[in-house]
């Protein structure tokens, strides 16, 4: 078992022992149940059960997945420093890069597991009230949530490497969550619209935020007509094309996954333990 696997296994076990992931899965299942009950009460069970539940879960997922991932990522390195265990770990035959990547892999698998459990139990609950249609959209959104978790965990790890205390790392993570999830629509996209309402500008702004990219991918997977996205929808459909748009947005999420982690590895390797 090499260093990355050993660290990843420990990280995964720690995550399973923590209450965060369990709380995440339970919250998901509870909200999914609530959503399907509301739909059932409204007499809207028959047609698009999974599709509607998926749509309902999008906003919850875009709020919760980045929050969970940023916090876990931000605690990863700063927490070891605060406990004093970093020096003990780095005194072992393991490189700083292996330690960081091992932690990232372990946390990623843990969050993927929580997403799978949350969506899995939610899916089971929804299946009690709705026919098994549109399951593929539901599964696609599970994958998108996992991709969003990977990207925001990577950003969280970078915050953790850069911060000199756990409190600062967590503060930075929460600030980033606020900016990426809550402020972005109002701030960056509003500013872009004020400066230039061209679809190109809006696409660039969306690519600059993995949460926004995943939101667009989710909408694109659910809606055949992208009018709901306004000028950006029109630009994606008419100028870029749906296939290219999907590739661009997926590429954006991949870059947001790889780049912060790469920077974190580089910076971490140069820091004193």
């Amino acid at each position: 078992m090499n260093g990355v696997t050993t660290i990843a296994t420990k990280e995964l076990r720690d995550a399973l022992r923590s209450r965060w992931l369990f709380a995440f899965a339970v919250t998901f299942a509870a909200v999914a149940l609530l959503l399907s009950r509301v739909q059932a009460d409204a007499g809207d069970v028959s047609a698009q059960g999974f599709n509607r539940t998926t749509a309902g879960l999008i906003n919850l997922c875009l709020l919760l997945v980045p929050m969970l991932s940023l916090i876990l990522g931000a605690s990863a390195i700063a927490g070891e420093r605060e406990r004093g265990t970093m020096a003990t770990l780095l005194a072992q035959p393991i490189s700083p890069a292996e330690l960081l990547v091992g932690k990232y892999v372990g946390l990623t698998v843990a969050v993927w597991g929580a997403i799978a459990m949350g969506f899995g139990s939610a899916g089971l609950l929804v299946a009690l009230f709705a026919p098994l249609t549109d399951v593929e959209h539901y599964l696609l959104f599970v994958v998108l949530s996992a991709a969003l978790a990977s990207a925001t965990l990577s950003i969280g790890m970078l915050v953790s490497v850069l911060a000199d205390s756990r409190v600062k790392a967590l503060g930075g993570a929460m600030l980033l969550w606020f900016v990426l999830v809550l402020l972005y629509d109002l701030g960056a996209i509003g500013l872009a619209l004020a400066l230039s309402s061209s679809g190109r500008t809006l696409l660039a702004v969306s690519l600059a935020n993995p949460v926004e990219s995943v939101r667009l991918l989710a909408v694109m997977s659910l809606e055949r007509d992208l009018d709901v996205l306004g000028p950006l929808g029109a630009y994606l459909t008419e100028r870029v094309g749906t296939g290219t748009s999907t590739l661009l947005l997926v590429g954006g999420v991949v870059i947001w996954t790889v780049a912060p982690l790469a920077v974190a590895v580089r910076r971490f390797g140069r820091q004193d333990a």
Partner: protein, 304 residues
């Protein structure tokens, strides 16, 4: 040469905390790094382990620590000043985790728990262990994977007399086993018992590098004995003044104050008792390291 450090320098911003330290430790030898708080002992150790970036060169069994840190650390067992483990892992889980990191067999982890005398506590979270138990676990973890170099940062800090004697035995056993050992201490008394060589640091600069016995000859590892004798006992004072192992004998109130090398204090007291002097009470003060370093510097100034 298992440990070789050449002109090691470390700065934090504008502050130089280590200014050109050199080390050379062969298999089966022990080097003690001595100095007061802030002298640069821990920094030198961190440089040797590769925990901090530094200028200069450190090799472990010929492997450059700065360039091939992982490979170099495979040869090192390191016990930090304050051993810190993941408090929620049990003793057994901790041993297994570090055995996996060091690619040591599972059986080695079990043996570690036994050797550290922690079998009864194997299922306990490390966070629930006492400081002494944690220290023993840290030593066990350091020896996992059969390292050729053992590095102990202030191993005697906070230990009671019994634990310090146990530590001396452990260091001696590992030296016998052929390990090169580097340890830091601010306790001069231990040095002649545990180390072959000594490196004395003061504010990052090397003020002595050579045999540990050489330190004893400068009287740096001195002890001060306070003896309360039965009456003024002028015979006892004469005896002490005539003893070549004792020096600076003074009378202060009801106490007789005698200075001697740390390793000779028992013989000084023994000589008095053998001569029929009854000792009502006594206490020992070890020379503080900063005073010893100051004395060493003044000795060097006198020589130059």
């Amino acid at each position: 040469m298992l440990v070789h450090a050449q002109d090691v320098r470390k700065r934090y911003g504008k502050v130089t905390v280590l200014d050109g330290a050199n080390l050379a430790i062969e298999a089966g030898r022990v080097t003690a790094v001595i100095g007061a708080n802030g002298a640069g002992k821990s920094t030198l150790i961190k440089c040797v382990v590769g925990l901090v970036a530094f200028d200069g060169k450190v090799t472990i069994d010929g492997v450059n620590v700065a360039r091939r840190g992982k490979e170099a650390r495979r040869r090192i067992g390191y016990v930090p000043q304050t051993p810190a483990f993941h408090g929620d892992l049990s003793v057994r889980e901790t041993a297994l985790f570090y055995a996996r990191l060091k690619q040591a067999p599972r059986a080695a982890a079990t043996a570690l728990v036994e050797a550290a005398g922690l079998e009864e506590h194997a299922a306990k979270p490390v966070g629930a262990l006492s400081g002494g138990m944690r220290q023993r676990l840290a030593l066990g973890v350091a020896l996992l994977g059969e390292p050729s170099v053992l590095i102990l940062d202030e191993p005697a800090a906070g230990l009671d007399t019994h634990a310090r004697l146990e530590l001396r035995r452990l260091v001696a056993a590992q030296r016998e086993a052929g390990l090169a050992i580097l340890l830091s201490t601010h306790c001069l008394e231990d040095v002649p018992y545990v180390a072959d060589d000594a490196l004395v640091l003061d504010q990052g600069k090397t003020v002595y590098a050579g045999p540990a016995a050489g330190l004893a000859s400068t009287g740096l590892d001195g002890s001060r004995l306070f003896l309360r004798l039965n009456g003024h006992s002028p015979e006892a004072l004469d005896l002490l003044r005539g003893n070549p192992l004792a020096h600076d004998v003074q009378h202060s109130g009801e106490w007789v104050v005698v200075n001697c090398a740390a390793r000779n204090k028992a013989q000084v007291v023994e000589a008095l008792v053998a001569a029929g002097v009854s000792i009502l009470d006594f206490r020992v003060e070890e020379a503080p390291v900063d005073a010893a370093v100051e004395r060493l510097q003044s000795l060097q100034r006198g020589l130059s």
